[in-house]
Each structure stands twice: as C-alpha cells, then as structure tokens.
Symmetry: D4
Subunit: 167 residues, 8 copies
Amino acid sequence: MEQPVVGILMGSNSDYPVMIQAGRALGLLDVPFEEFVMSAHRTRERVEAYVKEAEGRGIKIIIAGAGGAAHLAGVVAAGTTLPVIGVPIESKALKGMDSLLSTVQMPPGIPVATMAIDGAKNAGLMAAAMLALSDESLRERLKKSRKEQSAGIQFKPSLPTPQGGTS
Amino acid sequence: MEQPVVGILMGSNSDYPVMIQAGRALGLLDVPFEEFVMSAHRTRERVEAYVKEAEGRGIKIIIAGAGGAAHLAGVVAAGTTLPVIGVPIESKALKGMDSLLSTVQMPPGIPVATMAIDGAKNAGLMAAAMLALSDESLRERLKKSRKEQSAGIQFKPSLPTPQGGTS
Amino acid sequence: MEQPVVGILMGSNSDYPVMIQAGRALGLLDVPFEEFVMSAHRTRERVEAYVKEAEGRGIKIIIAGAGGAAHLAGVVAAGTTLPVIGVPIESKALKGMDSLLSTVQMPPGIPVATMAIDGAKNAGLMAAAMLALSDESLRERLKKSRKEQSAGIQFKPSLPTPQGGTS
Amino acid sequence: MEQPVVGILMGSNSDYPVMIQAGRALGLLDVPFEEFVMSAHRTRERVEAYVKEAEGRGIKIIIAGAGGAAHLAGVVAAGTTLPVIGVPIESKALKGMDSLLSTVQMPPGIPVATMAIDGAKNAGLMAAAMLALSDESLRERLKKSRKEQSAGIQFKPSLPTPQGGTS
Amino acid sequence: MEQPVVGILMGSNSDYPVMIQAGRALGLLDVPFEEFVMSAHRTRERVEAYVKEAEGRGIKIIIAGAGGAAHLAGVVAAGTTLPVIGVPIESKALKGMDSLLSTVQMPPGIPVATMAIDGAKNAGLMAAAMLALSDESLRERLKKSRKEQSAGIQFKPSLPTPQGGTS
Amino acid sequence: MEQPVVGILMGSNSDYPVMIQAGRALGLLDVPFEEFVMSAHRTRERVEAYVKEAEGRGIKIIIAGAGGAAHLAGVVAAGTTLPVIGVPIESKALKGMDSLLSTVQMPPGIPVATMAIDGAKNAGLMAAAMLALSDESLRERLKKSRKEQSAGIQFKPSLPTPQGGTS
Amino acid sequence: MEQPVVGILMGSNSDYPVMIQAGRALGLLDVPFEEFVMSAHRTRERVEAYVKEAEGRGIKIIIAGAGGAAHLAGVVAAGTTLPVIGVPIESKALKGMDSLLSTVQMPPGIPVATMAIDGAKNAGLMAAAMLALSDESLRERLKKSRKEQSAGIQFKPSLPTPQGGTS
Amino acid sequence: MEQPVVGILMGSNSDYPVMIQAGRALGLLDVPFEEFVMSAHRTRERVEAYVKEAEGRGIKIIIAGAGGAAHLAGVVAAGTTLPVIGVPIESKALKGMDSLLSTVQMPPGIPVATMAIDGAKNAGLMAAAMLALSDESLRERLKKSRKEQSAGIQFKPSLPTPQGGTS
C-alpha cells in the first residue's frame, strides 16, 4: 500500500461517522491517507508525538476534527508548519457553535484552515486541492470530480432525501 | 400552459419540501411559475445562464431558497435588476441562523427581499403582491385570500396540530 | 410636486440618519416618496390610519424601519396587501439582532421583505425594482444605476474610508 | 360563572399546549379567565377590538403568547394601559430566541412583562400576584400555593421525569 | 413624605444611571418609591432582610436591576409573592444577553416580569400599571401620560438625538 | 460510612441523570459525597440552611447544577467562601446557553468554577483535584485515573457509540 | 521572597491589564504567585515545559487567561492534574463569546474551572479558596476579605463610576 | 517583478486595512502576490473573469476577504479547483458573525479554507504553507519565521499594546 500523505485525526471515536467522509473524499481521488483517534486533551502526548514525526514520515497535510472546546486542530497547528485543516464537529448542546469558534478563531501566526460544521468531505477535497498544486494528475482528477458533481445535480426538484444546508 | 412569471430556484433537492410552499401559494393565486434546482456553488454556470436569460424569457421575479452559507439569492441578485426574494432554509447544525445571515446581510446596492427561515409560503405571497401592483385582478385575488386567511383562524383554542412560530 | 408612490415610515426620529438612505436611493431614481415618523407602539392609531388610507392615496409600497422589538413592518404588513419592506435598525445593546429577528421571522400569510440591518438604501432599491416591473423607463434608470455602481468600484485597493460589511 | 378578569390570548391554535398552563395556574388560584386565539398579524382587527373593549368588560390583565416575530404582546400593550404579560413561545428553527427578543425588547413607554420561553405557568402566577395587590384572599391563596410548591420538591434525587430548565 | 409602595433595587452603584429612570417614571406619576443598592451575591443578607420585611413595610412591588449573571430579581422573587419586575442591565462583554437570560429564564413557579435590556423606564410604568388596577386616580394619570407620549412623537423626521431601539 | 466532604446540589429531580456523573467520578476516586435536590428559587430557605451549615458539617466543596436562569451555584457561592463548582444543565429551548451564562458570568468578588454544559463528571474531577492539594493519596489516585483514561482511548477509529463534544 | 504556589499564565502581553487582577487578588490575601506570558499556540514548548515542572516546583494551582480560540487553559489542564482555572479574555470581534466557549466546553475527563469573561479577580479568589481548604489562616483572611467586600457596598445609590455587570 | 502566485481579492476598499496583512505576510516570505478589489455582488463579472483566467495566469491560490453576507470566497471557490482561503471581515452591526457563517458554512463539494474574523495574516501564512509543500526553500523560510515568532513573545508580562484575541 502507498505511503499516506494526509493524516486524519479525530478527538474521539464518536467523531468517526463524520470524519469518515474526509477519507472517502481522498480515497475517491486516489490520495493515500491514514486515520487516528487522538485527543488534544486526553492523549496529549500521542498528539505531540504524531505531529513531531508527521513531516518526516511523509505526511504533507493534517486534517483534525473535534467538538466542543475543540482544541485539536489548533494544538496540531502549533506544532507544525504543514497545512492544518480543521473540522468543527457538531456538539450536543451548542450544535457546533462552540466547536466552530474554538477551531476558527486562531490567533495571528498559527493558521487553521477551517471547514463548515461537520464539513469533513470538504476537508478531504481541500487537502486534495493543496496537493494538486504540484501534482498535475491529481489536478485533473479533481477537475473531473468537480464536473461530475455539477452534472449530478438534478435540474427539476423531486422527492427529496433528508439532507443539511445547501446553496 | 401559461408563460411563467416567477422563477423559483433552490440550492438542492432537499430544499423542495420547504420551497414547494412558494409554488403552492402562487398557484392558489393563479400566478404561473417555474421551479428549478440549481446551486450557486455546485452548478454556478447554470445559475448564471438562468439569470441572464430570465428577464428576456418573461420572468419578472426570482425566488431563491438555500441553506448554510446560502449564497444563491445574493448571486442571483448580483446578476439582475429584477426583484429577488430570498428564503433561508433551516440548516442542520445552526438551525438556519447561518442561512438567514448569509441571505439578508447584503451590501448596499444589491437588495434581497428576505423571508423568515423556511418562509417559502410568504415568498410566494410577496411575489404576488409585487405583481399585483400592475394587475388589478391579481390584487383582488390577493385581498380575497387574505380575508379568507383571517376568517379561517379559530377564535377559541382547541387541540392543536404541531406548527411553527406564530403571532 | 409628484404624488408619492412609496411611503417610508420609521419608529422614531432617531432612525432618520439610517432611513434617509431609502429616500435618497428613490430620489436618485426619480421615484416620488413621503417620509413619516410613527411608532407601532407609541402612535399605534397613526400607523393604522396611515395604512388604511395608503392604497387609496396612491401609495404602492411601504418601507418600515424600526429597532429593538421592531414590530412596525409587521404591523403595517398586517393591515395591507401592498408590498411591505422592513429595515431592522441597529439597536444599542443587541446590535440589531433583536430588530432583525422581530422583522424577518413573520408567520406564514403576512410577508415582510426584510433588508440587512440598517439596509435602508437597499429598501429604496428594492421598492424601485418592484415599481420597475410595470415602468419601463424606471427599469432603464435602475439598470443604468446598477452599471454605474459596478463601474464605480475601484479595481486596486487604496486608502479606505470606514464602512460596513461588503462582499 | 364568574366574570373573567384575565384575558389569555395566543397567536395560533398551536400555542395552546403551552398557553393552557396559564389558565391552569389561574384556575387553581380561583381567578376567572378567558382564552382566545387571535393573531397580531392574521386577525389584526380582532385583536384591536378585543383590546379596545377589554377594560370596559372587566378584564384587568392581558396575557399574550406568540412565537417567531412575536408581536402580539407588544400590539396589545400599545392599545391599553392595563398590565400586559408576554409569553414567548418556542419556535421551530430558532428555539424561541426570536420570540423572546420580539417580546421583551419593547421601546421605552410601552412595557410588556415578559416571562421565560414557554413560561405560561408563570404568566398565570404573575397575573395572580398583580391581582393579589388588592385582594387579600387571593394573596393568601397565592402564599399557600407557594408554600406547597416548596414542600413538594423532593429532598433526595430519584428517577427523574423529563423536564426543562431548573434552578 | 409619603410611604413608598415600590422598592427599586440594583446590584451595584454602576447600575444607577440606568435604574434612575424607573424612579423618574414613578415620580412623574406620583407613585412613592425607595431606592437601594444591594447585590444578590455580595450583600446577600441585606437582600434577604429587605425582601422579608418589604410586604410588612407597605412595599407592594419590587423592581430589581442587575447585569451579567443577574440573579437579583430571581433571588428577590424567590423570597416573596409580591410582583417582582426585573431589569437586565447591559453588561460590558456580552451586551446584556447574559443579563437578559439570567433574569427572564426563570423556572415554573417563581415569575419575574422582565423588561428590555436597560428598560428601567418601562419597569416604572409596569409597576404603575399594576398599582393602577386598584387606584382609579393613578389609572387616569397613567392614561394621560400615555396620551402625551403619543402626542409628543414628531410626525416628520428631523435631526435626531442618539437613542436606542424603537418601533 | 465516611463523612461526606463534597456536597452535590441540583435544582430539580430532572437534573439527576446529568448530576449523577459528579458523584460517580467522586466515588471512583473514593471521595465521600452527599446529594440533594434544592432549588435556589423554589426551596430558597433549604439552600440557605444547607450553605450556612455546610462548612461546620465538614463539607469542603459544593457542586451545584441547575438550568435556565441557573442561580443555584451563584446563590450558594454568595453564602460561603468554600469553593463552589457550577454545572450548567442543558435547557429545553436555549440548549443550556442560558444556564451557562447565568452560572459563569459572576460579578467580581463571588467566584463560581464553571464546567461545560452538562459537565458534571468534570465537576467531580475538579473537586477531587482541589482536595488532592492536601491529600497525597488522593493525588495518586487522580493521576492513576488520568493515565487510565488516556490509555483507554482507542488509537484507530471504529464503530462509535453516540457521544457529545470531544477534542 | 516566598515560593509561589499559584502560576498565572496569559496568552499574550495584551492580556495583562485583565490578568493583573488575579495577582492583585492573591497578593491582597498574601498568597505568593508568579506570572508569565506564554501562548498555547505560539510558544507551545514553553507551555509544555512549564506545566511539566510546575508541580515539582511547588506550584499548586495554575490560572490561564486567553482570548479568541482560547486553548491555553485546556492545554495546561491536559498536562497536569493540578486544578486549572481558566479566564476567557474579551476578544475584539466576538466580545469573548469565542474565548468563553473555547475555555469552558472541555470534554469529560479534563476539567477547567472557568470564570466570567475577563473574570481574573475571581480566578485569584477561587485559587485562594482552594488553598484555604488546608490553610486555616488563609481561610480566615478570605472570610475577612469577603466581609469587607459586603461592607464596602453603598446602601444608597449615588453618582456611579463606570463598571461592568453586577448582581 | 516576479509572476504573482497568490491572488488576494477583497469585496471593498474598506476591507484593505485588514486584507493588507495577507500581502504583508506573503511579502515577508518572498511569495509574489497581487491584490484587487472586486465584489461578488457589485462587480460579479469581474470576479468571474478573474477566476476563469487565474489558473492560466499562474495563480495557484486565491485569498478572498469580505464582510456581511460574505459570498466572495464561496463564489470564487465555485469557479475554480484551486485552493481558496476565506477571510471573514468584521462587520459593523453583527461584528463578523454574519461574515464568518457566510464564509465557512459551505456545502459539501465546494471547500473554502476559512480563517478567523479579520484573520488576513493567517490567510497569507496558510497560502505560504500550501506552496511550501512543493518548495523546499519556502518551507525553510516558513519554519524560520515560525521560530522567530515564538522567540519574539515576551516571557514576563509588561505594559501591553492594545490587541485582539490570543491564546
């Protein structure tokens, strides 16, 4: 199997049904990735070790999803200059507003590229877009996938399947 | 069939159960309309083409419903001087607060007439009120419908059916 | 002087520095209008009288601006089938979030076309767009004004003047 | 049957399961009341007529419950100097935040005594407290009821029944 | 001097520029009142003593203004069955949203009649309206004052003085 | 049985499914505790009595959980200089935002150590950490428990159990 | 000079005007403390080193103040079982709502005792209350200070000095 | 002069004092960039033309800053598969909450890498981090800059300069 270039971290097992979409998006574009559960708070040392070794192991981009006081993406970003993509996970009481603000409101100097609440699919696509800057073949796959996406949208409304926000 | 004068756009198939109420309101007032699914983001060119041709095709008002970062109404309004009515669709995590702010907080120069979250019925009624400015018969139908609406409200409370905000 | 076709109402004298922009936008498009201070709460009867007589006096559209528990637009809309445009005025403590929700979250059956917080200029433009549906000359003036607006935006950034939200 | 002294209004039939608690609280304290569905927006004239005649008919306090852009309490308060108690009803998308702000943020001069979201029981109790100012017997009943309420709270936690906010 | 019938409490000296309006409204209607600074948190015993003795001393209504985690009105209401009116004071960081929710979201059984953020004038007017239920002369003064208020609103907009929300 | 050193209070029986986690955390660390239902509003005197006697009875820390206008922790903190830990309970309409702000936004002078919405487990752990400052054996148990917690987190994502915010 | 037992950390020099109040409160109670600027994001390693050595150096409690995506308190709490007190600093755009949610919404297992926005004085008092559990002399000083605080509140309102929320 | 590889767009001249920081960050890292004012709404066609030609002209990343109903980043992202970084600009009434939600809550399929409100410096740094994936020299400059940033933070608090959120 190919060497992963994207690392997908999530704060808890319970984030997996959301974060699985990041890997799915990368997989469909043939971008090799790896997935781990590690919490900025409960397994701090594991996170530090992962971040310290990531670049040397060939990881180019880290995607981090967490909910509530979602520090994971910020903590990862503090430890590397690799691009870090944050996915705020919808939380029970505050519906992800806490996750969003904890992820996106980073201080000057330590950027986190934040996606929508539960926007794990877009995290995968954004990682692919970054990698495509120096990978022409991936760029073509990305463009083809975008076109198929547009083509797949029905022109006339019909019986809907339940789904989130759109525009 | 009569030439449509109102175009109803929605960002996704999943918006249809809400947006169907716009067409229903127009239909009850005998205002011909057309409905399409097109996303400001995922089928951008379709939106541009629709907006460019709308006025020439006899469309007088465009209703646009979208959720989340709901850009559809704004993008339509940027491309035409026809009146544009925006319907913020309730989103999963933030319950439509994101949809509302993305639709209503337009910059000076490009107005969008914004309805309540999921207020598609009112979008239809507002479109009819605009058209009634130069259509006396429609004006009468609108007044009649308003009167029937008032008459239909029960004076004494009874067993309720589940329903949204009221006043 | 010409017969006004747009009535601009505001809940208080203190709303005038915002609401003046509605009249200015209409004036630049040669749409005759009238302006009054009347409060849904403190001069309720004046509002009722105005609304009852508006259509007969030739008023075609009513713009209503108010802040806080901003009921003015809703109260006006309850009394007429003319199109009503609501402008939520920025309030002191809650910065217009109260004004916005009180204006836009209308129940099914009584629409208010809501603009951005302090979006009085767009209220004027939206009223003009409605009138332009049956006034070709106004439609041309509106299109010309839109083109000039686009042309007036500088292509290269320079020293800014303080200003609100943009996009 | 006794002449009602409290009028309970609600914007829609769907508010009844909440508003029924106001009457229940009044009934337990032997305060006669009446209940009507009337919307500030959809049956504006009914509201105006009710408010105009209320004082003459012996009504001393009006309780008004509504959701969304909840104008009912404010519109009633604008038409009378009787005490008006507002109950913001939980709305579907914004969970009553819109109802609360539309009810409580009244301008200086027109007060509405606002209760918690869905706080209809407290509206009944507040009306009773007002009436008790000049009714010694009611004052005693109110104090007795308060004492029983305290006594009824279990000292040791046990299996709970689902319930709202507490303190 | 006349025996006060309304007690105005505030959590801090810094609340006085807002709370002074409650006394002013009562004074203009010839309702005798008293004012004290006492904090639910920092002078808890003073509050308890005041509340315990208030009814015996002839106090009929208590107005309580506080900001932040504004517990004063709730603590007062917990200790008396007299009507309690709460005024949420605008706070520095959260602009009174914390004060409003801490004041209004009372549990079933202990009502607080909540006014707008900084709505101290309306607290005075609401207290007067309650007292007017059994004081015909006050009722007349209240009605006269309401009429003068309506008459004092200018019909044509002019240069405004800075002011809060209106409608 | 051992003398309790932590008192766990909750505003209502309905808070027990959340607050039970505070006792569970303390029990696992062998910290003796007691639990009572008492409301700052509905059983005010019980709260006052409890707080007055707590220190003398050997209670060292008080945990207080409440929802809505959650005054319990603040009222307890006003009556003692023992450390008070507040747990905002998720409320029905506003999802605990009201509970959180009512608990955390305490004025200077009366601190409440506030946990996350429904964060009762952490309240127990925080109480243990405070007691461990002068109890070496408890300190060791706390460190051991923290280590086990880290070790218990799975490294590879798998089928999740439903759970709240994480990071 | 005495060995510090409380460590006060802040994310930036700009937090000092707020955080200085924590030290002031401790100083007035004769609790020795130390203060450092260190950012969870920009000087991550300094934070890790500080936390690792704190307990061995005699530090018993850590106070951490930060704004925006305020991870400092959470990152510190992840690295120690000493009690950690978090102070959310008011941020420019979102006024500290981001700081509050990032600090308080910690996941089960890693508690942070959160104070009000800018509540640094209370952080100092809470630290003192924790230490007083095993220091009778400090307990007396704390009680004396609380009494003086109550006595210092003026009973009659007077010209105020500008100040934040109160209750 | 070198061929720009990053395009910085902003919705209005008034956004320049914020957006200038993106260019400054890129300039310090020797990354060539270009800056333009173009509005998604008011100069829609200019945006479309820019986006269509960007990739062919050698642009690799687009940074887009806008406020209010901030559609610029989303509209750009809809027209290209290049990475798009969004900067929500603080707006007057809602302080950038509208800008943030309009930028970040993108639907699945069209990602926007969102920075903090007014986080233009981080937008520049994130763009550099993306380019550094295939530019070893830039990677070194980025790491050096990160180290200098850490070293520049003062260890002991001193008189602060006014500044935003930190952690």
